[in-house]
């Protein structure tokens, strides 16, 4: 298996080549305004190291290029490059008082809301139809969308995770009227909770144009670099999707940066259950690995002010990093940082701002900049600063731990030098080679997942879990996984409150390696 992993960060675009479980090349290029140029540059740089050619000079066969990007979430947060969306909800007469976009921030709703249509349809909790789908009303809505010039459509339906048939039928009807429509069905985005699922669908539909253009640009960058390999986009949960699926469901790529660094840490350290601390230039993210994947956040996740049910890693971010401002009297570190201006503003590089990196240079942790400029920092002062950084890190790790005992901690990121070898509540601090490129490594080794979250009725608990597992397996394979490598990493069942009989909601998630391309 040979893969290239690329992480497009705020400062750098990192690229790594992994061959048979080993990192054989790692480079950094500045992130470009258009993102794509940075990717092309990083690939050129990687090629320049010679690792992409065999001993005889012929290009090596690469199985896949995995890209992690914050492009899509930034578009939502910064309100840029968004497409007007037609919202079609199947569920009348229920929910009429809370139409699509009803809980969006007004500025974002104004940008995205192209029109709202609600028609009869949807299902009950047990799969019975709630109302028959009003096909005539769907067609009428489609013609109105067309007249309004709308081409991106988000369709939602009551209990569609249980029975997506109404959404699928409505999508066919809309496509018959608007053949080039980009249609998102909420059932493709998972969970029970109409408003949050619909919101995810509408955000996804709003990214339709950006997604199409961005993925096309990624593909071009790879082609132009002369690499003949399929493109995969990394997902919030540490897995990847094939380019075609990622193009269709860009919202699943929202939080992949932090996830990739945690997955990379797992890979580089060989540990699957550990705490991870990723120390960047400005912030430090602390998360927990369970079975090699980040633990997910429990609660509703807001993206750009919109409530969603995305699978996102549960992270604690604190203002500690390699560029954090240091004040000596009284001692304090961060949360303000010089950020990408480290190489000009930090004292060791001729600037005037004392940072954690200056202290590391003074202490001889590494040989950067001009050590004489920080000679005024004596050993005792350096020790005090390091011990304060350690205290901040220790507190963050403790807050994220879910076990009382000591656990291993993997330290990655460019600022990992701030993490000491011994910490309270930590059995062992692990610093790894290529830890500064952990996120690109995480992208390179990403897997494929499949999830099932629905209600089963009149089955034993065991039967219901097996049925859910089968669905999740099939979805993972459909997304490009090798069936032989599938592993269940989450299984949760919940009997439905207040309901008689054996109604149980089961959520199962499986992951597997990407199937080798033919």
């Amino acid at each position: 298996m040979r893969r290239i992993g690329i992480d497009v960060g705020g400062t750098n675009t990192d690229a790594v080549l992994i061959e048979e479980g080993r990192v054989v090349g790692a480079v950094k290029a500045p992130t470009s305004q258009d993102v794509t140029t940075g990717i092309l540059d990083s690939l050129k740089k990687l090629a320049a190291t010679g690792v992409l050619r065999g001993a005889d000079g012929t290009p090596k066969k690469v199985d896949g290029v995995m890209i992690g990007t914050t492009h899509f979430i930034n578009a939502v947060v910064q309100r840029r490059h968004l497409t007007k969306v037609a919202a079609l909800r199947l569920g009348l007469p229920s929910g009429a008082s809370l139409p699509p976009f009803c809980d969006w921030p007004e500025d974002l709703a104004t940008l995205v809301r192209g029109g709202v249509w609600m028609v009869e349809g949807g299902h009950e909790y047990d799969g019975r139809p709630f109302m028959p789908l009003d096909e005539a009303a769907v067609l009428k809505a489609a013609h109105e969308m067309k007249a309004a010039g709308l081409r991106s459509v988000g369709i939602s339906s009551v209990f569609s995770p249980l029975d997506p048939s109404h959404e699928k039928r409505a999508a066919e009807l809309v496509a018959s009227v608007i053949p080039d429509a980009a249609i998102t069905c909420s059932s493709d985005l998972g969970r029970i909770g109409l408003l949050e699922r619909e919101n995810a669908g509408l955000l996804n539909a709003a990214l339709a144009d950006l997604s199409r253009d961005t993925i096309a640009a990624f593909e071009k960058a790879i082609r132009d670099s002369g690499i003949a390999a399929p493109l995969f986009i990394t997902q919030n949960d540490g897995t990847v999707a094939e380019a075609s699926q990622a193009r269709r469901l860009p919202v699943y790529s929202f939080a992949s940066g932090a996830t990739n660094s945690m997955r990379g840490a797992a890979y580089l350290s060989g540990l699957s259950d550990a705490m991870v601390i990723d120390v960047g230039g400005t912030t430090t993210d602390v998360g927990q690995l369970k079975l090699g994947f980040p633990r997910e956040a429990n609660s509703v996740v807001k993206v750009g002010g919109v409530r969603t049910l995305f699978r996102m890693p549960d992270l604690l971010s604190i203002g500690l990093g390699g560029g954090s401002h240091v004040v000596l009297d009284p001692l304090s570190i961060g949360p303000v940082s010089v950020g990408y201006r480290l190489l000009t503003d930090a004292i060791a590089f001729g600037g005037t701002q004392l940072t954690t990196t200056d202290v590391a240079v003074a202490a001889g942790v590494f040989d950067l900049g001009d050590r004489t400029k920080v000679a005024h920092l004596d050993a005792a002062t350096c020790a005090r600063v390091f011990s304060e950084a350690a205290r901040l890190a220790e507190e963050a790790v403790d807050r994220m731990k879910t076990e009382a005992g000591d656990v291993p901690l993997i330290a990655v990121g460019g600022g990992a030098f701030l993490i000491p070898e011994k910490m309270a509540g930590v059995s062992q601090v692990i610093h790894v080679e290529h830890g500064d490129c952990a996120n690109a490594v995480g992208a390179a080794i990403a897997q494929v997942s499949g999830e099932c979250d629905q209600i089963f009725k009149d089955m034993t608990r065991v039967e219901a879990i097996e049925a859910a597992q089968q669905i999740a397996n099939d979805r993972a394979v459909a997304a490009g996984a090798d069936r032989a490598t599938l592993l269940t990493i989450e299984s949760e069942d919940m009997p439905l409150a207040y309901l008689p009989g054996n109604s149980v909601r089961v959520r199962v998630r499986v992951v597997g390696d990407v199937a080798a391309t033919a």
Binding site: P93, A96, G122, Y125, G193, A404, Y498, S503
Partner: protein, 360 residues
């Protein structure tokens, strides 16, 4: 306290406070809050009145949605439909309501009376019949008081309407309406047996909307100022901090149509090394620390997100969540022998004598 208009900000606070008083059940009030935002945007306003201002002969509608919270987040709660349940009762009894009140302040039902009030143009009484949330219709102060358990109405957004005219007991009311609710798709806006002003004054649990607003306001203020939201709750309520910990296991099972189970926690901070488990039936019922009962119904056991201070529900609590557990005093009416027979630990199948956290 006299009659006053409920502000939009009050309703935002009520959503947070009612969820906390839901003691794990009752469903997240978020969708009810959204409905109220819609009504207020349309220009409607709701008045809150103390029960003491009711005339003895006033006719008061008691509002509650029954059903599974999980269904409620797909078939979104609708202010028109819950108002219809109240109108149906008015038509059936031939009397217009002078005011409405909630069956339970806890969860989404803490806000639904406001939706009805906005439609009927009547005030909401600052009282309910549970002072929290409970899973069954007979677990109310008016049932403890032996008041008449009928008639009841239940409606469905598709135009289905049911009237339960006569049942002999509250348990029968629970059984019959539960069946209707399941047929409707396990969600049913209902109007519970109407009460006279005299009955509300005698048997209502008073000041609970004001209490929920105060709790919610304290939490929101602490969130805004990055203060400690749990300390903020304890500054406005005579509650007690019981425990801080992380969820290590959640075991759930459906029996007799309810969500029963146990959540287990490992201690953090001052509670390190100490284990807590809380048994639940839709709501948190009995909390035990290191195997010894620590708090039990009718005291309110509130499990809160350790960071935000907002409530954590029995349906949504998950492995790894960091929580703070507090107790709030139960309503006085439930502390009587008759009250304990309805909602004490034995009413939930626990062979325990009620001992309040606040007894010592």
């Amino acid at each position: 306290m006299s009659r006053r208009e409920i502000t939009e900000d009050d309703i935002e606070s009520l959503a947070v406070g009612a969820w906390i008083l839901g003691t794990g059940g009752g469903g997240n009030p978020y969708l009810s809050l959204l409905n109220m935002r819609v009504l207020y945007r349309e220009g409607r306003r709701v008045q809150l009145m103390p029960a003491s201002d009711l005339g003895d002969a006033d006719w008061v509608g008691v509002i509650a949605n029954m059903g599974a919270p999980l269904v409620g987040i797909e078939r979104l709660t609708d202010h028109e439909t819950i108002a219809r349940a109240a109108r149906l009762m008015e038509e059936h009894t031939g009397r217009r309501f002078d005011a409405v009140m909630g069956m339970e302040i806890g969860g989404g039902n803490g806000i639904r009376p406001l939706m009805v009030a906005a439609h009927l143009g009547v005030p909401v009484v600052d009282s309910d019949t549970m002072g929290r949330a409970y899973p069954e219709a007979q677990m109310t102060s008016v049932a403890v008081g032996g008041l008449k358990p009928c008639p009841l109405t239940a409606v469905d957004v598709r135009g289905l309407e049911s009237i339960v005219d006569t049942v002999p007991t509250w348990k029968w009311a629970e059984r019959i309406v539960r069946k209707i609710c399941v047929e409707y798709g396990s969600t049913a806006p209902t109007c519970q047996p109407p009460r006279t002003g005299a009955e509300v004054k005698k048997w209502g649990i008073h000041g609970t909307t004001t209490k929920a607003i105060a709790i919610g306001r304290a939490v929101r203020e602490a969130q805004r100022t990055h203060g400690d939201p749990v300390a903020a709750i304890l500054s406005v309520e005579p509650g007690r901090l019981l425990y801080k910990g992380k969820v290590v296991d959640v075991e759930r099972r459906a029996t007799e149509g309810f969500l029963r189970g146990v959540a287990r926690f490992e201690g953090m901070d001052d509670w390190r090394g100490s284990a807590l488990h809380i048994n639940f039936q839709n709501e948190w019922i009995v909390a035990s620390r290191d195997g010894e009962p620590l708090a039990m119904t009718p005291d309110l056991i509130c499990v809160l997100d350790a960071v935000s201070g907002e409530a954590v529900g029995t349906e949504t609590i998950r492995y790894g969540q960091r929580v703070t557990v507090i107790a709030l005093p139960g309503p006085d009416i439930f502390l009587t022998p008759e009250g304990l027979a309805h909602v004490g630990p034995r009413a939930f199948g626990y062979d325990l004598d009620f001992r309040s956290v606040f007894a010592s």
